[in-house]
Structure formats: C-alpha cells, structure tokens
C-alpha cells in the first residue's frame, strides 16, 4: 500500500517534469531565451540623456556617454562619462559587474585627477539623483533573479509574458519585480518594482524599440515613475553603435583616467 503511494508521487513528479512546466520553470526558461536572443552584440556605444522631474514639475538634465562590453559568463563591463551637469563634466564611472557578488567599481574625479575604488554594495541607491537605482541600469544576467511565470497578457496590443522575478543579490532594494516581456522581441515593455516592504515603488516603461544588426532590440526611451515620491525620470538613448571592436583594455583603470 505504502509502496504504491510513493510510486504514484514519483510518477506525478515525473509527468509534471516531462509534460508540464511549473510556473517557475516556465519563467526561468523565458529568461534564458531572452538572454540567449540578446547575446553576441560584443560591445555597444550609446549616448544617454536623463530628464529628472520632481512633483512640482521642475526639471534637471543629465547627459552621459556609455560604452559597454559583453562578458560571456559574467556581468558586463561598462564605462560612463558625464557631460552634464557641467560641474561633473569629465567624471567617469567604470564598473565590472557580476551577478551575485559585488561589482568592481571605480570613479574618476577630474578635478583631483583621482581614481577612487568605491564600494558597490550600494546597488539600491539613486543614480545621479534620478529615480533609477544603480541596479536598474546594470546588466541583466539570468542568475540575478529567481523567476515565476504569472500569466500571458496583451499590453498595448502586444502579446506579453508576465513574469515575476525575485532579486538574488542580498543588497537589492527590491523584494520583487513584475516584468511584461514582449513575446516577439523577448524584451521588456513594462517593469513594476516593489520595495523592501513589498509596496509598489516604481514603474518603468520601455518605448520605441528599434532593431539593430537584424537581431538586437533597444528602446529609444525609458520612463521611470516613482509612485511613492511623485518624481519621474525620462531616459533617452541615441546613437547606438554595436560591434565597435572594443576590448578589456577599453574598460581598465588606464582608460578610465583618460575618459572624457
């Protein structure tokens, strides 16, 4: 009798594995597919501007250039050089990102000509006073989250997978995120962020996707709205360039010192 019972459980588990994915497995599989489709771009150069808006509607602008190197099997490397506001012009930020251990980060301060290794535990802090946290802008690796597929949904006329994901990084500012992933592009259209108390914190909308090199989809604009403080940040990307022949050398401390 007991034997039969165990056998039926085993059979159920086996059948489940073979014939039906659990929501977790489906979520992970979609994340892996999205990662696979966005692999192989090697390196990327782009200009970025941010318009920061407060509750009263006052705005402030940030302008920067970002180069990124794809690192297979680890987080990407990136170098950000600031052009605006003028008092931080020439400041540069180098980061070698990792999935679960802290990133390696250096800051170059042009007035002192000083390169400072900085603590990177602060992934949840605001990026240049905007509504983006550092972790929102760093590279999206599969291992950074655990996943659960919730449902399929039509968002603004597009078929999407709705997936909940849970940051695995111990210093993350979020308990969970819900992502609406476009079924055709395998790119997010919308992202909801929930803070450490599990209250809805922010919503990010990805707008005007364009395809590059017949494969890679990139948005022209990303709008982040903070529901708790009423502030928002609109981020615009221009001049995307891929496969520029960049190497590790373009992301070392020597290059950081002359970035501007």
């Amino acid at each position: 009798m007991k034997k039969k019972w165990i056998l039926s459980i085993l059979l159920t588990l086996l059948l489940n594995n073979v014939f039906a994915e659990t929501p977790k497995e489906k979520g992970l599989a979609i994340a892996i597919e999205a990662d696979k489709r966005d692999s192989g771009w090697t390196d990327q150069i782009a200009d970025m501007s941010m318009i920061l808006k407060n509750k009263q509607g006052d705005t402030s602008e940030r302008v920067m250039r970002i180069t990124t190197l794809e690192v297979p099997g680890d987080g990407d490397k990136s170098l950000i050089t600031f052009d605006d506001p003028k008092d931080i012009k020439g400041t540069a930020f180098l980061s070698h990102t990792h999935s679960l251990i802290p990133d390696d980060q250096w800051l170059y301060l042009p007035a002192l000509k000083r390169v400072k290794r900085i603590s990177s535990s602060n992934k949840s802090g605001p990026f240049v006073g905007s509504e983006y946290a550092y972790e929102d802008l760093s590279s999206q690796e599969v291992e950074k989250y655990k996943y659960k597929w919730l449902r399929d949904e039509i968002l603004n006329g597009r078929d999407t997978f709705v997936i909940e994901r849970y940051p695995q990084y111990e210093h993350s500012g979020y308990t969970r995120q819900i992502v609406w992933l476009d079924k055709e592009m395998y790119q997010p259209l919308k992202l909801d962020f929930f803070d450490r108390k599990n209250s809805e914190l922010k919503t990010l909308l990805f707008l005007d996707y364009k395809q590059y090199l017949d494969q890679y989809w990139r948005p022209d604009s990303m709008q982040m709205t903070n529901h708790q403080n009423g502030k928002s940040t609109v981020l615009s990307w221009t001049d995307y360039k891929f496969k520029n022949g960049l190497s590790d050398r373009d992301f070392d401390k020597n290059t950081l010192k002359r970035a501007r």
């Binding site: 920061l52 407060n54 402030s60 602008e61 605006d84 506001p85 003028k86 008092d87 931080i88 012009k89 020439g90 802290p102 390696d104 002192l112 000509k113 000083r114 390169v115 290794r117 900085i118 603590s119 990177s120 535990s121 602060n122 949840s124 802090g125 605001p126 240049v128 006073g129 210093h171 500012g173 050398r249 070392d252 401390k253 020597n254 290059t255 002359r258 501007r260």
Partner: protein
C-alpha cells in the same frame, strides 16, 4: 553676382570648419569670500574678509577615435589682499597618445597617487599650490614625459620631470601663512641645477580582486621643502624653503570589502635630513540609505604617523583623524564632509567642514570652514592658530 571661389577663401572656409569642429571649451569661473573671525597673529595680515576671483577654462580636443588628444587648462586667481595668492598657472597642457599596450603623455599635467582622505602622504609628482588652500589638493602643473606600460600583470608608469616647480607660499599680507613668513624668493636648493634638476619616478599599480595597490619610487627634488630660519637686513626673521634631493619609496593599498574601505599609505624617505618612515592608515565605512532615505553616511577614521615627530615639516606627525561624509544623492548632488584631526602629541585640534550643492544647472555653491584649537607654540600648525575661517565659493560651470 560673382561666385566666391577663390582658393584662399575655400581654404579659410575649410579651416574655420575644422576649428569649429575641433575640440571644445569648458571650465568654470568663481567668486570666493573668506571671513576670518580672529585678529591675525601678524599685524601685516590686517584683513578679516577676503574676496577672490578664479577662472579655469579648459580646452580639449581628441581625434584618432579618442586615442590621441590635447588638453589645455590655464588657471587664474585674482586676490583682494594677498599679492602672492594672485597668480597664473598652466594646470595642464598635454598631448596624449594611447595604444593597446602603452600610453604616452607629454607636457604639463597633474597626477594623483594615494587613497587616504585627511592627508595625501604618498602623492608627490606635483607641487602643492599652497596659496589656494591648506588641504594640499590644489597642485601646480608639472612638466613631464610619462610613459605608461600596460600589462596583464599591472601598469608601470615611468616619469621624467625636467623642470621643478617651487611651492607657492602666501605673501606678507596673506592669512594662513607661516609665522614668520616663508619667502619663496629666497629658496635654496641642494642641487646646483636648482629647478632644472631632472626628477624621475616609477610606479607599479594594479588590482587583485578587491585590493588596489600602488608601489612607487621617486628620486629628485623634494616637493615639501624644509623651512630654515633666516633674518633680513633689518633683522626681521623669515623662513627659507630648502629643497633637498630625496629618494622616496612608497606603497598605497586599498581593500574594498563591501561597505568598508581599508586604506594604507606608507613611505620611506632619505635625503631630507634624517632618513625616516611615515604612514597613514584607516578606514571608511558607508551606511547606505540611512533611516529609509536616499542619504548615505560615511564614517572615516585614520591614523597618521611621521617618525620625525616634532621636527616633522608635516603637521601629521602623530595624529588621529575622524570624520563623517553625507551624500544626499539628490538632484542638486548635495554633500557634506566634516572632519576632526587631533594631534596626540601636542593636543592641538583641527576642525574642518566642507559642503556643496548645485544651484540650477550651472552654478555650484561650496561652503568650507577650518578651525584651529589649542595649537602649542612648537607645533607647525601654531602659525594658523588665529586663522580660523569660513569660506563661500560660488562657481559658474560651462
């Protein structure tokens, strides 16, 4: 109407086009106001407020995909009371060429070495522009040839410095100067070549995981002179800067362990009277997002030691520094730093506050305050004993 097709005109047009495309100007202009709340030690330093105007434009042009560039940064300060503080300098005039395994820099520039905050012990390439600020973070442009050799195992920087820059000291009427006054025009050099002595330096720097290290050697004219006592014809005492030829080996290390930064700087110097060792070591710990806000609070602690003790030129001969740094992470990039240095030997204390905030898009307002308590007569910092000041510095950045 006749078409203008003269070759000269076309050349001029092309040139205008090239120049307008080539490079960019940026920089800042600023107004500084200092208020001193005590009467100066020397009656010739008879001002309690001081205005100053500064201008630092910067020209930068890169080509060859950014692998070649030139930079030009002149600097001008006009000071209300101190003629020595009114000065012009070329902070930077450099040509840079970068290749896969090396980078070459020719010209005048500034180089920073080190990791600690209260004192920049191992930083030696540039002369300090002491009329600017006591914090020794303002430097005079140093002429050099600098070749960086870039390897998998680290970067080796080689420096040849064909011309030495003497330290600028505040003038007779300037506050924050030595008592008696240090006379730059009476400088003495160990080397017969004086400022034309060719100084050399080499540095190895790299990082291993969360450890960043720098190992350096410097041979040449000491940047910080010994100050010798002299008297002029009328019997008035003054200090004579004496520049020895020194050898200095130094190590700087930072370990970045999560929110904790461990810092160490140590040096061994010979040639400047007795051979000696000095060190600066400490930590900086950051509390991220305190009290559920976006504000980061950093706490700093450092110990500074100089084997020469009381005879040290440095005011950091046996000192403890503690401080706090607040970064508000707001749109205006508001931040503040307070620090206290306590001389364990003489009991003297030095309190420092710095804060800054952007106003609009182009303006930056900085507040600075420096206060001296209980300096003893034998302490080098005794000279500043009555020079407590508060400063407002407003800059327009373009």
């Amino acid at each position: 109407m006749k078409k203008i097709t003269h070759p000269l005109f076309l050349c001029l047009l092309a040139l205008t086009h090239t120049v307008s495309q080539a490079g960019e100007w940026s920089g800042f202009a600023g107004l500084e106001l200092r208020g001193f709340n005590q009467t100066a030690q020397d009656s010739r330093q008879d001002h309690s407020t001081n205005f100053s105007f500064v201008l630092e434009p910067e020209y930068y042009h890169k080509w060859d995909g950014g692998d070649q560039s030139i930079a030009f940064v002149p600097y001008l300060r006009l000071d209300e009371n101190d003629n020595e503080r009114t000065h012009f300098d070329i902070r930077e005039l450099t040509y840079l060429k970068a290749a896969e395994n090396w980078e070459l820099r020719l010209g005048i520039r500034k180089v920073f070495w080190g990791v600690t905050e209260f004192q920049h012990l191992v930083d030696i390439i540039n002369q300090t522009d002491l009329v600017e600020n006591l914090d020794t973070e303002d430097k005079l442009g140093q002429p050099m040839i600098n070749l960086a050799l870039i390897n998998d195992w680290g970067t080796v920087d080689l420096f040849v410095m064909p011309y030495f820059r003497e330290r600028y000291f505040p003038g007779t009427s300037g506050r924050l100067r030595t008592i008696p006054e240090t006379r730059q025009d009476r400088s003495l050099f160990e080397s017969a070549a004086k400022e034309k002595h060719i100084d050399l330096a080499a540095r190895y720097s790299h990082y291993f995981g969360d450890w960043d290290i720098g190992l350096s050697h410097f041979y040449g004219t000491s940047r910080d002179p010994r100050l010798l006592l002299g008297t002029d014809n009328s019997g008035t005492p003054f200090l004579i800067p004496f520049y020895d030829i020194i050898n200095q080996t130094s190590l700087d290390v930072q370990a970045t362990k999560g929110n904790m930064l461990w810092k160490f700087e140590g040096l061994h110097r010979s040639g400047q009277a007795s051979t000696y060792n000095a060190l600066a070591a400490g930590f900086e710990y950051t509390f991220v997002g305190i009290m559920n806000s976006a504000i980061d609070l950093g706490v700093l602690g450092e110990y500074h030691y100089d084997e020469r003790g009381e005879s040290a030129i440095s005011i950091f001969e046996d000192d403890i520094g503690i401080g706090a740094r607040l970064a508000f992470n707001d749109v205006q990039s508001t931040d503040a730093l307070i620090g206290l240095v306590w001389d364990r030997d003489s009991g003297g204390q030095f309190f420092n506050i710095e804060a800054s905030r952007r106003i609009g898009d182009n303006w930056l307002l900085e507040l600075q305050g420096r206060f001296f308590f209980g300096q003893k007569r034998r302490d080098p910092a005794f000279s500043f004993n009555r020079d407590d000041y508060t400063e407002l510095f407003l800059t327009y950045n373009f």
